[in-house]
Symmetry: C2
C-alpha cells in the first residue's frame, strides 16, 4: 500500500521514515509548502497526490482545520484511504469526513489524534463492538502534564514550567490550546464520538491549568493531593453525554499520579471489561508516527473506521455530573460558592472545599468570578 | 458468525451470555462434561460441534493442555476459527495450533490468555507489524498481585493473604501455578512469541512469592520499596531472548505500584512507540469474556493471527540480563552471594543487596541454597 504524506514537520518526517522501513507499506510523495520542495519525493501541489493512481492512502499530519479539511476531502473523493493525527480537524469536521469516506468505501482512521502513541481510540472502537462503554477519559495533554509534574516535583512556578516545556519542544510558541485544556477537550470529543456515536460540538467545558500558582501546588500537596489535568466523558442513563476538561486533585497511589513528564494516560470503562487504562507517550515524532503507522497497517488488514456507522454531531450536557471542588479565590468572594469546608483564609486568599456541585455550575461560577476580576483556581476532588 | 463454546465455568458462562447480546455474533452450542447437559444449548460430544456446518468459530475456555489441545485441533481441522483464554494450552502447543490454523485458513487468537481483560497481545501483535519490540513484561498474575497488595497495605501474612484470595475466588484450591510464578511465566512466553516469533520452551526461570514473609514486607517497605511479581521478556542484540518471572522491588511512584488488588499491568516497549503500559482486570468472568469477545469480533473483521508467520518453539537465555537483588537468607549463608551492601544481620537473619548478578545466577544460587535447607527470599531492584 503506497502512502502519501501531507506535511513534513516533526511528525511528517517520522511517518515518512517509518514508511520506508515498514513491511507491506510504501512511502509515496510528501506534500510540502510552496518553495519547500528540495527533494524528488516532495511535491507542492496536492493534485500530484490525489491524481496519482499509485497512491492508495494519504496520511495528514499538518494540523489545523484548513486547508487540512479540503485536502482530506479531495483525497477521500479520489478514493484514497485517509489517516490523520490532527485532532482539531477531526473534532471539527470528523463526521463529514467519516461519511465521505464511507460513501467512497475508503478507510478513515485517526488513532494519533488522541493519546499520541497510545493505541487508545483503536481499542475503544474495538471494545464498542462487544461491550457497553460507560466512560472515557484521562490525561490527554502531554504539555500540561509535563508542566504539572515540574511544578509538583520541583516547586517550579507556572511561568518557568511553561518556559521549560517550550524549550524542550513540548509546548508551542502559542501554548493557549494546551494550557486552557482545549487540546485535551478536542481529544475527549473524539473519544465520545467513538464510544457513543455523538461528536459533541456544543455544551463543552474546558478549564486548564493557566490559573495554577506555585502557592496552590504547595497547598494541595501538603494535603496529600496530586493535580492532573483530566479530560472526562460519560453517558448518563438517559443518553446525555457529559464532556469536559478540568484539573483534578487525586489521592496518592492512583495510576494517574504515576504518569510523569509528558506522558498520557487514556482510560475507558466497559460494562464487561471494567476499567482499561493505557499509558504512553502522548506526543513526539516517533510515538505519534508509530500510531499513524499502526493505522495504516490496520487498513492493509481491513480496518476501515473508528466511528460507529451512525455517528453524528451533537451537544454535551455537563449539568448532571457532580463533584466536590477544591477552590482558591479572593477572601472577598466568600459566600459565592457552597462551602462544605473552609481550608484557610489568610492574607486575602480563601481556600475551600465545595459541597457537591455540577461541573456546569462550577465552571459557570468561575467564569462569573473572573468576569468580576477575581482570580480563581479550581480542581475536582476524586477519591481512588 | 456462530460461535460454539468449550467449557461452561466462570468464563464460559460469561462468553455465552455476551455472545447472546453481541452484534454480528451468535451463540452456538456449549460443550459441557458428560452428565452436565441440563439445557438444550449444551452438548456433551465435541462432534456435535465440529460436525455442525453452522458453527463458524470455537471459543475454548476449559483450561489445561488436554483435552483442550485435541479439541482445538479437531475444531481447526474442521475449518472453525479458534479462540482461547487458555495460557497453559497456548504456552505448550501454541506453535502447532498456529500452523494448523494457517493451513486451514482459519483464525487463531488468544488475547484472554495474557492479561485477561487487558487487550495486550492484540496490541503487541499489531505493533510488531510496524515497530521493533524491545521488551515485554509486567504484572501478569492477578492472584499474586492481590496477595502482595494485601500483605503490603494491611500487614497480612502470606497464609492469610492466600486464604483471603481463595475465599474471594481469586486463587484456585491448588494455588501452585499462581504463587510460584508459573502462570505469569506462561503469559510472558506468549508475549515473547508474539513479539519475536519464538515461543521459549526451555531455559525459562520463575520465582514466585511463596517465600515471602510478613517480616520481609515490613523490611523493604521501611526502605520505601513496593514489591510486585513481574514477568519480563527482552531480546538482546544477538537475538537471544530472556524470559523470566521474579519479584521486583520498585520505587514509589512507578505505575506498577498503582496496580492494586487483582489488576494486571502489561507493557511493551517499541523502538518508535516507546513504552506502552495497559492496566486492567487480569481475570474474572466478565473481563476475560470481554477479551474473548473482542477476539471473535476481530475475526469477523478479518483478524486472523497473533503470532508472526514464522513462529517456532525455542529456548530462553537468562544469563545476559543482570540486576542487583535484595536477598533475605540465613546469617550462616553469608558469603554465598556477592554482597554490595549488608542491610541487617540480626537473630540469624541476613538481609543484603547483591552486586549486579545475572538472572540465571541469582535463580541458580537460590535453588542451591534451598537444596541445602536454607530459606531464601529474593527480589530484583529496579529504579524508575
Amino acid at each position: 500500500m503506497k502512502v502519501a504524506v501531507l506535511g513534513y514537520g516533526t511528525v511528517g518526517v517520522g511517518v515518512y521514515e517509518m514508511l520506508k522501513k515498514a513491511e507491506g507499506l510504501e512511502a509515496g510523495p510528501v506534500l510540502v509548502r510552496p518553495g519547500k520542495k528540495d527533494a524528488d519525493f516532495k511535491v507542492c501541489d496536492l493534485n500530484e497526490i490525489v491524481a496519482d493512481p499509485s497512491v492508495d492512502a494519504v496520511a495528514e499530519v499538518m494540523g489545523g482545520v484548513e486547508p487540512a479539511f479540503s485536502y482530506a476531502m479531495a483525497a477521500i473523493r479520489a478514493g484514497k484511504h485517509f489517516v490523520t493525527s490532527n485532532k482539531a480537524l477531526v473534532a471539527a469536521r470528523g463526521v463529514e469526513l467519516f461519511h465521505a469516506a464511507n460513501e467512497q468505501g475508503v478507510a478513515f482512521l485517526f488513532s494519533a489524534a488522541c493519546g499520541g502513541g497510545v493505541p487508545f481510540l483503536h481499542n475503544l472502537a474495538r471494545a464498542v463492538k462487544t461491550d457497553e462503554i460507560l466512560s472515557v477519559g484521562g490525561i490527554l495533554n502531554g504539555t500540561t502534564n509535563f508542566m504539572l509534574d515540574r511544578m509538583q516535583s520541583s516547586g517550579m512556578d507556572y511561568a518557568d514550567a511553561l518556559k521549560q516545556a517550550q524549550q524542550l519542544g513540548y509546548a508551542e510558541a502559542d501554548p493557549t490550546a494546551d494550557v486552557t485544556g482545549l487540546d485535551a477537550l478536542r481529544k475527549i470529543m473524539l473519544a465520545c464520538a467513538v464510544a457513543w456515536g455523538v461528536l459533541p460540538q456544543e455544551g463543552l467545558l474546558n478549564e486548564g491549568i493557566d490559573s495554577l500558582s506555585a502557592a496552590d501546588v504547595a497547598d494541595f500537596m501538603a494535603r496529600g493531593r496530586t493535580c492532573r489535568l483530566i479530560a472526562s466523558g460519560c453517558r448518563a442513563a438517559d443518553g446525555r453525554i457529559a464532556a469536559y476538561v478540568e484539573p483534578v486533585l487525586l489521592s496518592a497511589g492512583e495510576a494517574e499520579c504515576a504518569v510523569l513528564k509528558n506522558f498520557n494516560l487514556a482510560r475507558y470503562e466497559g460494562k464487561n471489561a471494567g476499567s482499561i487504562a493505557m499509558i504512553g507517550q502522548g506526543a513526539g515524532r516517533w510515538p505519534t508516527a508509530s500510531a499513524v503507522l499502526r493505522d495504516l497497517s490496520g487498513i492493509a488488514e481491513g480496518e476501515t473506521a473508528m466511528f460507529p456507522a451512525d455517528v453524528c454531531n451533537g451537544a454535551a450536557d455537563n449539568a448532571a455530573e457532580s463533584h466536590a471542588y477544591y477552590v482558591r479565590l479572593p477572601s472577598a468572594c466568600r459566600g459565592r460558592l457552597p462551602a462544605a469546608e473552609v481550608l484557610s483564609d489568610t492574607d486575602g486568599v480563601l481556600r475551600l472545599i465545595t459541597e457537591g456541585m455540577s461541573v456546569a455550575a462550577m465552571h459557570a461560577a468561575a467564569k462569573a468570578l473572573r468576569a468580576e476580576g477575581c482570580g480563581v483556581f479550581f480542581a475536582a476532588l476524586r477519591e481512588g
